[in-house]
Symmetry: D2
Subunit: 170 residues, 4 copies
DNA sequence: TTTT
DNA sequence: TTTT
């Protein structure tokens, strides 16, 4: 009922393989993916461009797990917002091991982007524009009390920049 | 039921004045504050340190509006996560005007930090550590299906770094 | 040389029109775009899906301004990270007016995504995969001292999940 | 020189112990801390408030490592922005192990907040207000080309809300 | 109008 | 003025 602290992860990258979905005893879906984020930079010494790919373990829960399992494919470009969580587990020899994952549940978000996924099952791949709509649906419960405009007038419409820009002293 | 896009603002700064809370016809609270974020940098030409304060209009809705109205004071240091929204309105002469605000509702967060608020009503000021707990409570509905551990074993408990670190080849 | 506060905006959306680039007296580029972020939700009363588009004014400076001016087109899907800034200006009647923008400079980022831009000059449109590489180049100066691996072994290479997963007690 | 992807972590929490700083052969500082972020929620079944603390390994590099080593103490409340990185290493038995850390270097940020640190060395603890100024200094190189106002007039000054608010049709 |  |  309370919280102290912020634990937020924002990733935008490509999915490393087809997602794996399983179901908990209570029927809730859990989907695992690996996600690659790449960045590159010029080496100060050599002047060579260096590239580095970081791999992340992402776990979706609930409604987002279903959506991720259905729409994400190997190669999909995706935006993800979640939180860090480190799980403790025991390996075969009984030793404690730790795995850090990005948990994406109702407090998070997933947005499928325009990436050309190399689907394992391309024949059944949905039209990509379907995914983002579906994907976002889980955010709905997050803003029930939001001040959404229902009036005919749209308070947040764009200013009339054509006439307006003349006034802007850039 | 769907979403396409990300619209997120993260601010950490100081409140410019006591919050103003009002109530909508439906009983929901709305609280307005102004928030200052400062940054400084060394001028490349002069070598002088420059400072700049940016002021933001933040609007809380719902439960967070109540918490903000109760715990924030002039001077409070606060972390806020919300979304950008530009409202259109008419000034006295009937001209269209636009105001951009950071909306913080159930999809957002507020964390009161350790700042020494100069409360308008210091006598009634709650112990400051109470605020963050209360403040965060509104996030609860965001993670109802989250994979919270309810097992006796805490998967995410602090690793035993003392023994653990020995293995880490820093 | 110092900073107190956080002022961060993260947007992922579609560009509303071809970017407009101009040059400051010192030769630095400045590029303006408008960016739409959409979200939708189900109305609690009516059960109807509501949609809302928020428009943002984004201003790129420096190297990112050049990249944005070259690669962004009307319709481009783009990820942007910047900071909020409100400018004061005077309209024709001499009245003070304020415009809030998202400033994206060296402290920010831009990532062109997979969107199918409807370029004004499609014939000269670069292969879309070229853009993200170029776009990110401005981040280079941000991490010169970063602990990038230059050793033959890549510490952060993809774990061998195939063999590795066997140990993970999901 | 380029980048494709976003890898960003934002944490706000309390430091688990005094920071440990060491120096690389090239003289650069590296500082390690553990950081706790807590959140709590009401259990749907029991109605009981549950609390959970997540621990993170944070590694600072360069100038920020020096600042972190000097100003952070056990218990310090701190805001951190960095990126995820998983290191591979071998334990005593030669087995591959992985550790995920939040790397905070020039592309990141650190802000010491108002927390009452329980310093291991309270006698030598600097006045807390000194830290944030120092801490932020490392961000300077990130925005050298930023459009900072050098004009006498401050473009980003606060609107005169007193007279202004009357016009706002809330 | 905040804060350092 | 975008996008689905």
């Amino acid at each position: 009922m309370a919280s102290r602290g912020v634990n937020k992860v924002i990733l935008l990258g490509n999915v490393g393989g087809d997602p794996e979905t399983r179901y908990l005893p209570n029927g809730n879906a859990v989907t695992n993916i690996t996600l690659a984020t790449s960045d590159s930079w010029k080496d100060k010494q050599t002047g060579q461009v260096q590239e580095r790919t970081e791999w992340h373990r992402v776990v979706f829960f609930g409604k987002l797990a279903e959506i991720a399992g259905e729409y994400l494919k190997k190669g999909s470009q995706v935006y993800v917002e979640g939180r860090l969580q480190t799980r403790k587990w025991q390996d075969q020899s009984g030793q404690d091991r730790y795995t850090t994952e990005i948990v994406v549940d109702m407090g998070g978000t997933m947005q499928l982007l325009g990436g050309r996924a190399t689907g394992a099952h391309p024949e059944e791949s949905a039209p990509r524009q379907a995914a983002p709509r579906a994907a976002a649906s889980v955010r709905e419960p997050q803003a029930p009390s939001a001040p959404r405009p229902t009036q005919p007038a749209q308070p947040s419409a764009m200013p009339d920049y054509d006439s307006f820009d003349d006034d802007i002293p850039f």
